[in-house]
Amino acid sequence: MTVDQLFNWLNTLVPAMENSGLLLVVAILIPCLALFLVVAVNAIVMVYAERKVSAFMQDRMGPMGQGVGLHAGKWGLLQTVADALKLLTKEDIIPEKADKFLFILAPFVIFIGAFVAIIAVPFGETVIVADFNIGIFYILAMGSLGVIGLILAGWSSNNKWSLYGGMRSAAQIVSYEIPAGLSLIVVIMLTETLSMQGIIQYQEGGMFNWIIFSNPFAFVAFFIYFISVVAETNRTPFDIPEAESELVGGFHTEYSGMRWSFFFLSEYANMLVVSAVGAAGFLGGWHSPIPGYFDSNGWGVFWMLSKIVFLIFVMMWFRWTFPRLRVDQLMNICWKVFLPISLINIFGVGFWTLIFG
């Protein structure tokens, strides 16, 4: 349901205040609250999933609760809630020599970048806050806001480790946006639209109409896109900005409590956004893999969410399997491997559509 629909619905609900500014504000706030809920629940579920996934990969149990009394619930289901409570009640420390204003600002900048991008993410045929005609472009633009927050955090902490982390993330995220964006251009060339819903509608009719399987160049583009966004979200094997064994905590070394958890929240929100774009752009979005089956509206949400969850699971799988790359190796891969291949991809798709399209 978009803001326009909400506004119209509110107008009919309260005819006395028809077309007033207050109703517009309410119509904007409702989806905002809903999205905040999505982000918060997403983080809670994903932290739990990450802990369980890592535990199973490492031959452990992960969080578990047993017996009577204060514990983390059955199978540790309440572990993340307990973690969140702990983070909320922790002392809020701001280093004496930090740039206080920027230090406080940084987590919010990062969070806003991840948060506003979700507006244009479609979760189903009608489940989208705003279907812009430049949706995919908007998501890319908002996604890159986060890096400003990382640099701010790294700089304002007045800590050498944080500075290293901030500088590394600036180089890394800005570089990896290029191959990710170029890979999405392949999608845009095929669908001839920037609207997220338009891109998904193009892929109707079974999994062989999905863009990933539509031609070999798009197939390659998907993998470049996926690896690049893993780097953009600072996940292993590209987690050099927070590289725990090298930089202690990287850009968030000096943060604690709720401020620190905002970094976490936005990391998981970012993962959600990039996975959603991957699912919508390459994997058919809310379309069922078999045409005609399970293709009604409710199933659309199911398909979209399961594709997102699958991509997120692959990210977690990466994290608990691979070691970390070095800064220069990371840059080499980006500029010397991914960038040329993405450029070739664009040419290839152009010729492909010219010949077969």
């Binding site: 050099i240 725990e244 090298e246 202690v248 399997t321 070691p323």
Partner: protein, 373 residues
């Protein structure tokens, strides 16, 4: 257009840092990510080991040796008791010798597993670390079965060992070895031949054999540079001459001879050799015999001095003991292999990047308890 003048930044890695393997402080001069100079600052864990030894009797020194290299306490016990026994010209029963070798080799596997796992962690791979700790746990269980302790054993005494092997130990040990050998393959698949891991370790921190020898580096670090030197083979102590095993050396399999990958892989190969020794020792061990039979009533070595060395998981551990005929040693000096390994760090790490320094430090496998003593 002005010229940008950059200045070098001095960065303290440690004493509180996730990958300094203890309380080590590295003073590094950095130009961006490039490290130009690196100075290890030690002493945060100094506990006057050698001075303590001059105030306690010979057998009371053994618990202190536990706490030097706390990841290979059995091997340190072994080194010390061998030195004292040599000074006293004491002969220990054959069964005791076998038990000691079994314990020392299990300890070598446990220590190497931790070193390899933590090295993976330094590079950023979390899962191999937990796999290796899982298997190390079973060795610690066996130690606990034998002497009740899991980390600091005080197991080997002058003239014997504190407890005989418990019932069922040999079977448990064989079970463990049968389970463990295929696991090595899993580690190799997961970490050793991982493309990213090789990229991060091959050709990094190359230690040429001449430099290694001139610094006195020993153990796996020396063998990784291609020098075939293992005290178990080159000057056998205890009963190591009875077993067949290879001394694996580095061959620059993924890059240059003596790089981080070689140091890592030599340890992996040594674990296999330890398994070989253990199988022989467990099979040949005499069933009967009293492990307390040769314990001296009073440890009072004759006047004189001795320098004796053994091969611990970290290398050449030497004990110099001076006796004035009294029950208290007049001087105990310990030559620790990790100390020389750390000394060579400055030579290795200059000119590399930040991440490589962590990688090089991890590959040397130092234990601060032994360096600071």
């Amino acid at each position: 257009m002005g010229v940008v003048h950059g200045e070098e930044m001095v960065l303290n890695i440690g004493p509180q840092h996730p990958s300094t393997h203890g309380v080590l402080r590295l003073k590094v001069k950095t130009d961006g990510e490039i490290i130009s100079e690196i100075t290890p600052v030690i002493g945060y864990l100094h506990r006057c080991f050698e001075k303590h030894c001059e105030n306690v009797t010979y057998d009371q020194v053994i618990p202190y040796t536990d706490r030097c290299d706390y990841l290979a306490a059995m091997a340190n016990n072994f080194g010390y008791v061998v030195a004292v026994e040599e000074l006293m010209e004491l002969k220990v029963p054959e069964k005791v010798e076998y038990i000691r070798v079994i314990m020392a080799e299990f300890q070598r596997i446990a220590s190497h597993l931790l070193a390899l796992g933590v090295y993976g962690l330094d590079i950023g791979a979390f899962t191999p670390f937990l796999f290796m700790l899982r298997d190390r746990e079973r060795i610690l269980d066996m130690f606990e079965m034998t002497c009740g302790a899991r980390l600091l054993y005080n197991y080997m005494w002058v003239g014997g060992v504190s407890h005989d092997l418990p019932k069922g130990f040999v079977e448990t040990a064989f079970q463990f070895l049968d389970y463990f050998e295929p696991q090595i393959e899993e580690y190799n698949n997961l970490l050793t031949h991982n493309k990213i891991f090789v990229e991060r370790t091959a050709d990094i921190g190359v230690l040429p054999p001449e430099v290694a020898i001139s610094y006195g580096v020993s153990g796996p670090n020396l063998r990784a540079s291609g020098v075939q030197w293992d005290l178990r083979r080159n000057s056998p102590y205890s009963i190591y001459d009875k077993f067949e095993f290879d001394v694996p050396v580095g061959d620059g399999g993924k890059g240059t001879l003596g790089d981080c990958w070689d140091r890592y892989y030599v340890r992996m190969l040594e674990v296999r050799e330890s398994v070989k020794i253990l199988r022989q020792a467990l099979a040949q061990m005499p069933k009967d015999g009293d492990v307390h039979q040769a314990l001296p009533k009073k440890i009072r070595p004759p006047k004189g001095s001795i320098y004796s060395r053994t091969e611990t998981p970290r290398g050449d551990l030497g004990f110099y003991i001076e006796s004035d005929g009294s029950p208290i040693p007049s001087r105990v000096k310990m030559r620790s292999p990790a100390f020389t390994a750390l000394a060579v760090l400055g030579e290795l790490a200059g000119g590399w990047m930040m991440s490589d320094v962590i990688s090089i430090l991890g590959s040397l496998d130092i234990v601060l308890g032994e360096i600071d003593r």
